[in-house]
């Protein structure tokens, strides 16, 4: 990877990686750190990263840095169970369903949240998500199904918010 190609990666992926980290950590400074660290490692390994795999490499690094950060802060939610209706989510507080979903997203277990974000925000295939997160493709599909089911239950009657 040349310097120009690296800078192109900054242009293309820094924003999306930042959004991913920000949604995961809910902290701008920490999200900033994740992006800085991820790109630094990309630069350090620029001769090893396969052309076309830069985004996947960045998000793989970012994903694992986020997990490390969350674990260090003891914020990682191990429980697979989600308490429907718990937390600060209230349909009446949000102006659109997107904001409502964002609020419910916080109540998902960390791994489910990450997978759904990679799928919806970045449009990764299940196979690509599996590579990034070091899970099997089946595990990814199961986690995402559980996440969508949980979000759907949290929303409740769709007619109330549409």
């Amino acid at each position: 990877m040349t310097v120009a190609e690296y800078d192109k990666c900054v242009d293309t992926y820094a924003d999306s990686l930042y959004r991913f980290a920000l949604k995961s950590l809910r902290n701008r400074d920490e999200a900033n750190d994740i992006v800085q660290e991820s790109f630094m490692r990309l630069w350090e390994r620029c001769q090893e990263v396969i052309s076309g795999k830069e985004k996947s490499y960045l998000f793989t690094i970012g994903h694992h840095l986020i997990i490390d950060r969350v674990r260090m802060d003891k914020r990682f939610v191990h429980s697979e169970t989600m308490q429907a209706g718990a937390g600060n989510s209230n349909a009446q507080e949000y102006s659109n369903i997107g904001e409502l979903l964002e609020s419910y997203l916080d109540e998902l277990p960390g791994i489910q949240r990450s997978l759904v974000m990679l799928r919806d925000y970045e449009g990764y295939s299940y196979q690509e998500i599996a590579e990034i997160t070091h899970l099997s493709e089946s595990q990814v599909k199961v986690y995402i199904f559980r996440a969508r089911t949980a979000l759907r239950k949290s929303i409740g009657n769709i007619e109330n918010i549409l």
Binding site: D7, D15, R19, E37, M40, W43, L101, I158
Partner: protein, 317 residues
């Protein structure tokens, strides 16, 4: 594999997204017909599939990431270095690799990754045990190393001692961490600086002086000469800026060992952690603006991570 209550989730997303094969789809629908509760959940998702929409948030500091344009970390480092030289540093612990730097003209400088180590910590006032333990904890790996580069690597959690540092590290090191703070070993300079940096908490925050006075040796802020071509022009060597002040931690007594510390191992552990805190406040914090620096502590170890390099200051193992 037969679809069951235990494994149907593996195919649920593919079913909902219409990517199942015809045969598998038929099997899945047969399964749903026999499992009404599950079918209701699937139907609910068919009615409305909750999907997130990306925000328009953008990363605010892209310039810091670019290698070929914008503000490079080196430039920020240089800017900060000037401020630090006027305002700053040290409480008896300094970032190492002095002799490597002093060997100007050699290529060692470019081989310095972002590593820091500690040396020349002195604790006066009858703290012989603590002093020895602390010195061992923070300097032995450096002193035992064959050379400064190896000493630096000894503190790295990511680079083995016998590993060649790739050329790419040279570039990164040159740009991101081309500055170190080091002791000045010239006798006349050291004497002057040592004298200038003896401090007590009473001098800084008005509280009564503790039983044990902390004595630190000031260092000088150095920039490693631009030995790598990618650094480019405009480099300014800052090797003459004297340390004119010290950043005094809130509680200097934090780095003294409490009297109840019986064993050397305990003393080392506690001192290491407390010293890390002091270093974090006095030396590392100003570097936060250059590259991510974080202090970490687990049940077993504590230390500092700077630009992905880990410095373990205390290790119970």
């Amino acid at each position: 594999m037969k679809i069951s209550e235990d494994n149907y989730q593996e195919w649920a997303m593919d079913y909902l997204e219409g990517t199942l094969s015809e045969s598998r789809r038929a099997e899945f629908e047969t399964f749903l017909a026999a499992n009404r509760d599950i079918a209701a959940g699937i139907a609910s998702l068919q009615e409305y599939m909750p999907k997130l929409t990306a925000s328009a948030e953008t990363f605010p500091d892209k310039k810091s990431l670019y290698k070929d344009r914008g503000v490079t970390p080196l430039k920020r480092l240089m800017s900060l270095a000037g401020g630090m030289a006027a305002a700053a540093v040290l409480i008896g612990a300094v970032i190492v690799a002095g002799d490597a730097i002093r060997r100007s003209g050699q290529n060692t400088a470019a081989h310095m990754p972002r590593l820091v180590a500690l040396e020349n910590v002195e604790i006066s006032g009858g703290m012989a045990t603590a002093e020895a333990a602390l010195a061992e904890a923070v300097t032995a790996p450096v002193e035992n190393a064959k050379n400064s580069t190896e000493a630096l690597i000894a503190y790295s959690g990511t680079v083995a001692q016998d590993e060649e540092i790739p050329a790419v590290h040279e570039a990164a090191a040159s740009e991101v961490a081309a500055a170190v703070i080091t002791t000045e070993t010239a006798p006349d300079t050291r004497a002057a600086e040592t004298s200038a940096t003896e401090v007590t908490p009473a001098e800084t925050d008005g509280t009564p002086a503790p039983a044990h006075k902390i004595r630190g040796r000031a260092g000088r802020l150095h920039m490693i000469p631009p030995t790598h071509a990618t650094v480019g022009g405009g480099y300014e060597l800052i090797d003459t800026a004297p340390l004119t002040a010290m950043a005094i931690p809130d509680k200097l007594t934090d780095i003294t060992a409490p009297p109840m510390m019986a064993s050397t191992a305990d003393t080392r552990s506690v001192l290491g952690q407390r010293l890390a805190m002091v270093i974090r406040r006095s030396i590392i914090a100003p570097l936060d603006e250059i590259s991510p620096v974080s202090f970490f502590k687990t049940d077993e170890i504590s230390g500092i991570e700077i630009a992905s390099r880990t410095i373990i200051l205390s290790n119970k193992n």
